[in-house]
């Protein structure tokens, strides 16, 4: 994990190179106008990234290496809960029991809490309403989904992803 000014410029340069490469690779048209527009959008992106604290908030490089595994698990969760929610919607009786739950986020860095909150929102049946002081408030479509979420699998996986 990098911190301080060195980390800042390291991340800045890495994002700049990534943006330039992405533009050149995907545009495929190398006229002065399009290259100029590309340079402009790279600069704009860097400014926005600076403003949201992208170069300051810490996350370990190893978290990126663990990402594919996490995504594979999350994809499976999304598929399972999508089928559940589709079944509820198509059920004539509409068997919902909306529940709001609150629990503490296991990851203590803001980046980890964002990953946790967004993963919960991404899987149907649960929507993150609020993240405040490391505490999440989540709206669940049914009581069963709420209980499953409180059992902490999401929390554990997200914390495992973000650990150093």
């Amino acid at each position: 994990m990098l911190s301080g000014m060195k980390g800042y410029w390291y991340r800045f340069a890495a994002l700049l190179l990534l943006l330039i490469a992405a533009w050149l690779l995907w545009s495929g048209i190398y006229t002065p106008l399009l290259l100029g527009l590309g340079a402009l959008s790279c600069v704009l992106c860097l400014y926005l990234a600076h403003r949201i604290g992208f170069f300051v908030e810490l996350f370990s490089a190893r978290a990126i290496l663990r990402l594919p595994r996490y995504w594979a698990w999350l994809l499976l969760e999304v598929v399972k809960s999508s089928l559940d929610v589709a079944r509820i919607i198509l059920n004539r009786k509409l068997p919902i029991s909306p529940t709001v739950i609150e629990f503490d986020a296991a990851p203590d860095e803001p980046v980890g809490q964002v990953v946790l909150g967004n993963s919960i929102t991404l899987s149907p049946g649960t929507v993150t309403l609020d993240v405040h002081n490391g505490r999440l408030r989540v709206h669940c479509l049914t009581r069963e989904v709420a209980d499953a979420l409180l059992s902490g699998e999401f929390n554990r996986r997200a914390a495992e992803l973000m650990k150093d």
Partner: protein, 107 residues
């Protein structure tokens, strides 16, 4: 071989379309703001994934497929953020999400 890929791609596209349809149906059937958001997440979760993977199979191994992967990743990263902004705005402006239940386990 090509026709097998085609068949798989059409199955994915049709399944994606079905999820988008069920999502729309849910947005109509469910009773209030927050429950309707769950139906919407069906559309931008499974709907997006299945339809874009279906199109990827049509595109084959090309630059277009890599662009589609980039679009998919971008959508999956940004759509929960947008949902959070929506839900949080509703919460802050006083749309009642029902009774709260705090703590770890069943109480």
């Amino acid at each position: 071989m090509q026709s097998a890929v085609d068949v798989l791609s059409w199955i994915l596209l049709a399944a994606g379309g079905a999820f988008v349809f069920v999502g729309g149906l849910g947005a109509l059937r469910l009773p209030d703001f927050y429950t309707r958001m769950h139906a919407a997440s069906l559309t931008d979760g499974m709907g997006t994934i299945l339809i874009l993977v279906g199109i990827m199979l049509q595109a084959g191994w090309s630059l277009a497929a890599i662009k589609l992967i980039a679009i998919l990743v971008c959508l999956l990263l940004t759509s929960p953020t947008a949902s959070y902004a929506l839900a949080n705005a509703a919460l802050l402006s006083g749309v009642e999400p029902g009774n709260s239940r705090a703590g770890k386990a069943e109480n």
